[in-house]
């Protein structure tokens, strides 16, 4: 009975519980935009965000500058969260065996189930995803106290158990390695991808760019070495990228460690590149850093710890802390134990909280079959997904933007998650209130969270610290550094390398659990250009040997398990290995997420291994349905991106002589500078632009026809010399001599008095000739009417929706310019430099984008224009772009 009361209470977090507005407008009304600080989790770890709401609706996510895992920037997942929040396919109903139920029916069923539990709770199991939330951890702890026979398991398909084993070997305890890339002078990544997607990406990318900025100023750039099997964002920007088959990784690491003189090394290895890398690390000394990543063996992780220990990196290039995750354990073992118990019939009640194990666990583990042996199963989640369909009960969860909660960042910094909008699904529950219901204590999630922090902060300072935490978005500092001694017996050589073609399982760089998110699905993955699906990444030689072209279908066979996948030859892929991105091929991810690509989990070994030898590949002779926005290899044949050696300068951008006198440009002249040296190709700017400007999603069929609508595209240019790729974001250039304008017959695209190339949608008749004459091809045409899909509560009302048949393009976020202009006018002051941030600029983790007034000599954008690295795209065409670039600097001597 108490459970039913609790659930009834948990269901009514009213709108009065909305959080504190942080950044209200000067003229604030209910309808005006306001921002709330909150936190969003990725892989269980939080990134601070500011959520802009309008009329009570969350419309845009931006980074929280005061949060250490954001520093004001966002990643694609944070940007896209606001779309998932408004997903009409989110679960709307409580269901029993698929049939909609009323809350009281659920309450009755749960009360009965609870009564059926033995007093010690034996047979009750909790299954969650990875979590670092202090409140959820506390509540789960209380559940386990109340029911000593109950167990807590976790399903984390992206967990790196080898890292845990490595730290146990090296230090005898779990540790988290927090690299400080701002201070590191030489970094070796052993399969690690610090610039790639992940909970620490924003911070690490910022630090890396700061180190490069300082290095350029000092004339000594830091070194970045990447030894990896599959091309990553970090590898793309590395000074030296060493394609390394996973089987060679340990040998390579040993060779480097041996050269560094790491004590306690059980055996040495050899690799041609090791000596140079080791030398750079040794010169860097304490500022040297070795990072081991997902897919490496425990021995390699231990080797990395030992090398860092030998270099004395702790305190300079890295910090060791206790892991931020609640109760670190081997995640694959945790899930395997649950499945074993389920098969053995020891599980009577299973509560699955915000996790989708049927989909995310390796199919070979047999979770779905084992689930049938459990008496009562309840799944709580955002979507009626694969697991929900196989559970007796399904309860819709609130989206993190609707629910109270808390979280920890990768560095341990806690933060309070406050709801920023009324729940869009009336019956949806919060995780904390579900757990408190299990405890029999009727608590709202807010009460549960405040209880946690009341304990932490003490009663007297709670109110002020709570208010401060909601306002700043952080609830304390990072975890303290620890300095565990290196275990003398740290080196436990790994198993012998597997033979044959090796399957490498990897997170999809553009997808996590949000397969339902159309923004993420449609965003081309940076290293492959694939959208709306995935492909098995082959090295070009293997693809050639098997006579496979990009997009050919292959059957992949691993230990008798089979799956059909598209083949994508990927330059830079280490020979002899095939990378299989996880998260595709969903069966129940709605219209957006289902049947996109193949499901690598069907192949993954039951133990959740990241590597598996003996992969067989059989071409089927068919073509796979693959949406690729670019070919695998994109050489910069046209020299679109000049590359400089350190200290080199480009000739200044000088306007070409023109037939006509220049149009006078008194007053402001808006301009943008994009630092290609800082760009890591993470796509955050493109998704931010999509969110800010109501850019439609066109779907796979239209995208495959070349009708994508992204206002900002990121061109990758591959180079034979390091860095292997340059990412060049291409928004509208806002040319002073805009070639698009003179060809328009109806004055639908003209210049305004501040030099913006304005697109007047209402005037456009759709001749499309402007796109013909745009050498940058940044204009997008509404081939279809996208307004119905955009005209939702999520749309940014400050940007109009465009009808069918008109052109559109980047506006430099002109609505933000107008908003800032009126704000300044109201306050009776001049616009400040940097006051206007475009959406892409705001999102950028490396601050590669600068925007401002070119006519103001002291503005940041004018200063960057004067930089010796400044270049304009296709300058010889005489278009005089207002968007210019800063050239990347290539490494000097690391060959």
């Amino acid at each position: 009975m108490s459970a039913s009361v609790a659930l009834a209470a948990a269901g009514c977090d009213g709108p009065e519980e909305h959080g504190h507005p942080l950044h209200a407008r000067a003229r604030g009304t209910e309808q005006e935009a306001a921002s709330y600080a909150s936190v969003l989790d990725l892989e269980g770890l939080g990134r601070g965000v500011l959520v802009r709401t309008r009329g009570g609706h969350a419309v845009k996510i931006e980074g929280n500058p005061q949060h250490p895992a954001s520093l004001g920037a966002t990643d694609i997942f944070a940007e896209a969260a606001v779309l998932s929040l408004h997903d009409p396919e989110r679960s709307q109903r409580i269901r029993h065996d698929g049939a909609p139920q009323m809350p009281r029916q659920l309450n009755a069923a749960l009360a009965a189930a609870r009564d059926a539990l033995p007093p010690d709770g034996a047979g009750l199991r909790l299954l969650t995803g990875p979590l670092a939330s202090p409140t959820l951890a506390r509540l789960i702890g209380e559940v386990l106290n109340l029911y000593p026979g109950a167990r807590w398991h976790r399903c984390d398909p992206l967990a790196d158990d080898a890292a845990l084993d490595g730290s146990l070997a090296a230090f005898g305890r779990p540790v988290a390695v927090l690299p400080d890339l701002a201070r590191a002078r030489a970094v070796l990544c052993l399969g690690a991808d610090p610039l790639g997607p992940g909970p620490a990406q924003l911070r690490q990318a910022r630090d890396w760019s700061v180190a490069r900025r300082n290095g350029r100023a000092a004339g000594a750039l830091p070194h970045l070495f990447v030894a990896e099997a599959s091309p990553s964002l970090t590898g793309a920007r590395a000074d030296r990228r060493i394609p390394l088959h996973p089987a060679e990784a340990e040998s390579f690491a040993r060779a480097v460690a041996a050269t560094l003189g790491v004590p306690g090394l059980a055996s040495s290895g050899s690799h041609a590149a090791a000596a140079g890398v080791a030398e750079a690390l040794r010169s860097a000394g304490q500022a040297g850093l070795v990072l081991a990543g997902r897919g490496q063996s425990p021995a390699v992780h231990a080797l990395a710890h030992a090398m860092n220990h030998t270099l004395g990196a702790a305190g300079t290039a890295l910090r060791l802390t206790a892991p931020p995750m609640a109760r670190p354990e081997r995640m694959t073992a945790s899930l395997a134990a649950l499945v074993a118990d389920m098969v053995a019939g020891q599980v009577t009640h299973l509560l699955i909280l915000g996790s989708n194990p049927v989909q995310e666990a390796p199919a070979a583990l047999g979770f779905a079959d084992a689930l049938r042996r459990v008496g009562v199963t309840l799944h709580a989640g955002l979507w009626f997904d694969e697991t929900a369909q196989r559970c007796h009960w399904h309860v819709p969860l609130r989206h993190p933007l609707e629910a109270w909660g808390d979280s920890r960042a990768f560095d341990g910094t806690p933060a309070i998650r406050q709801p920023v909008t009324r729940p869009l699904v009336e019956v949806a529950y919060e995780e904390a209130s579900l757990l408190s219901a299990l405890l029999g204590t009727p608590l709202t999630a807010r009460a549960a969270v405040t209880a946690t922090w009341r304990d932490v902060w003490g009663e007297e300072s709670f109110e002020s610290r709570w208010a401060e935490a909601l306002e700043t978005g952080t609830a304390g500092g990072p975890a303290p550094a620890i300095a565990p001694p290196l275990d003398p017996g740290w080196d436990r050589p790994g198993r012998p390398p597997s033979t044959g073609l090796t399957a490498i399982f990897a997170p999809d760089p553009g997808l996590r659990e949000d397969a339902q998110n159309a923004w993420l699905q449609e965003m081309p993955r940076p290293m492959t250009g694939i959208a709306w699906g995935n492909a098995a990444l082959f090295d070009p030689q293997t693809a050639e040997r098997l006579a496979l072209s990009p997009g050919d279908e292959v059957e992949l066979i691993l230990d008798g398990r089979r799956v059909l996948a598209a083949c994508w030859p990927t330059p830079g892929q280490a020979p002899g290995c095939v990378t299989l991105p996880l998260g595709g091929g969903r069966a129940a991810a709605g219209a957006v997420g289902s049947e996109r690509g193949f499901d690598a989990n069907l192949l993954r070994p039951a133990d959740g291994a990241w590597l598996a030898g003996g992969l067989e590949v059989r071409p089927t002779g068919r073509r796979a349905a693959l949406v690729a926005t670019a070919p695998p290899h994109r050489p910069d044949g046209s020299g679109a991106v000049p590359r400089l050696r350190a200290g080199e300068e480009l000739p200044p951008i000088t306007p070409q002589a023109s037939l006509h006198p220049s149009w006078p440009q008194p007053g402001r002249a808006w301009a943008m500078v994009i630092d290609v040296d800082a760009c890591i190709g993470c796509n955050a700017c493109a998704v931010a632009c999509q969110a800010e400007n109501n850019v439609p999603v066109v779907g796979p069929a239209e995208l495959a026809r070349g009708r994508g609508m992204h206002w900002l595209r990121i061109d990758r240019h591959d180079h034979p010399q390091a860095p292997a790729a340059s990412f060049q974001p291409v928004p509208c250039m806002h040319c002073e001599k805009a070639p698009c304008e003179p060809v328009c017959p109806v004055n639908a695209t003209v210049h305004d008095n501040e030099g913006l190339n304005v697109m007047v949608h209402a005037r456009c008749i759709g001749t499309r000739t402007c796109s013909n004459n745009c050498p940058y091809k940044v204009r997008r045409f509404n081939w279809n009417d996208h307004r119905p899909s955009l005209d939702t509560a999520r749309r940014n009302v400050e940007v109009p929706l465009r009808p069918r048949g008109v052109m559109e393009k980047c506006t430099y976020c002109s609505h933000r310019i107008s908003a800032a202009r009126s704000a300044a006018a109201v306050e009776g002051r001049a616009l400040r430099d940097g006051e206007i941030e475009t959406a892409c600029q705001r999102a950028c983790p490396t601050q590669a984008i600068t925007f401002g007034d070119l006519n103001a000599d002291d503005s940041a954008v004018a200063a960057q224009r004067r930089d010796g690295r400044s270049y304009a795209l296709l300058e010889h065409l005489g278009t005089r772009p207002r968007t210019t670039y800063l050239a990347p600097v290539v490494p000097g001597d690391t060959t």
Binding site: S658, W663, C735, A738, C740, P742, V750, H751, R880
Partner: protein
């Protein structure tokens, strides 16, 4: 019923040369108001009748120039004065871009004026003309040639005109009633 005064007297010829000769004879005889009808252009007859085509050209030329000037002026006024815009950094008074449309409009006006001017000079279109009362005049559009002495000529007297026409040995000669 008294016979109404005729519109003129008409003679029909089987070929153009006879008609041309007839026109020359009539002119020599002092006739000044006459028309000739033929199924195709007969330049000699036109010369004999003292026709001039040059006005068609002058009308077309003047209209063409006016059209071009108006087109140019309109574009210039609208772009430079009425609603100047910064289009691609070009100054609004970048006049060469106004030339193609001015040229095209000029040609258009000239062509239209050539047709309309020709019709105007010819007094066309008109729904009816007394010459259509003439017998077998419909063959003027096929294979017969006609000389038509008009009643407004000071020399005109119906019987005398018929006598004169018969002296030109036509296939047929007759009076044309006025209504």
């Amino acid at each position: 019923m008294s016979a109404p005064s005729p519109y003129g007297a008409i003679a029909e010829f089987g070929d153009a040369d006879r008609m041309v000769a007839a026109i020359r004879h009539a002119r020599a005889a002092g006739w000044s108001r006459m028309e000739a009808h033929a199924p195709h252009p007969v330049p000699e007859a036109a010369v004999a009748l003292g026709a001039h085509a040059a006005p068609v050209g002058w009308i077309a030329l003047a209209s063409g120039l006016a059209g071009a000037a108006i087109a140019f002026g309109t574009q210039w006024y609208l772009s430079v004065h009425d609603y100047p815009l910064n289009v691609g950094g070009r100054p609004p008074q970048a006049w060469p871009v106004f030339l193609p449309a001015a040229y095209i409009v000029g040609v258009l006006w000239a062509a239209a004026a050539a047709l309309l001017g020709m019709l105007w000079l010819n007094g066309l279109p008109r729904l009816h003309h007394p010459v259509f009362f003439a017998r077998s005049i419909h063959r003027a559009s096929q294979d017969r040639y006609f000389l038509h002495l008009l009643a407004e000529d000071p020399l005109f007297e119906p019987q005398a005109a018929l006598v004169f026409l018969h002296s030109l040995s036509p296939l047929r000669a007759s009076l044309v009633r006025a209504a």
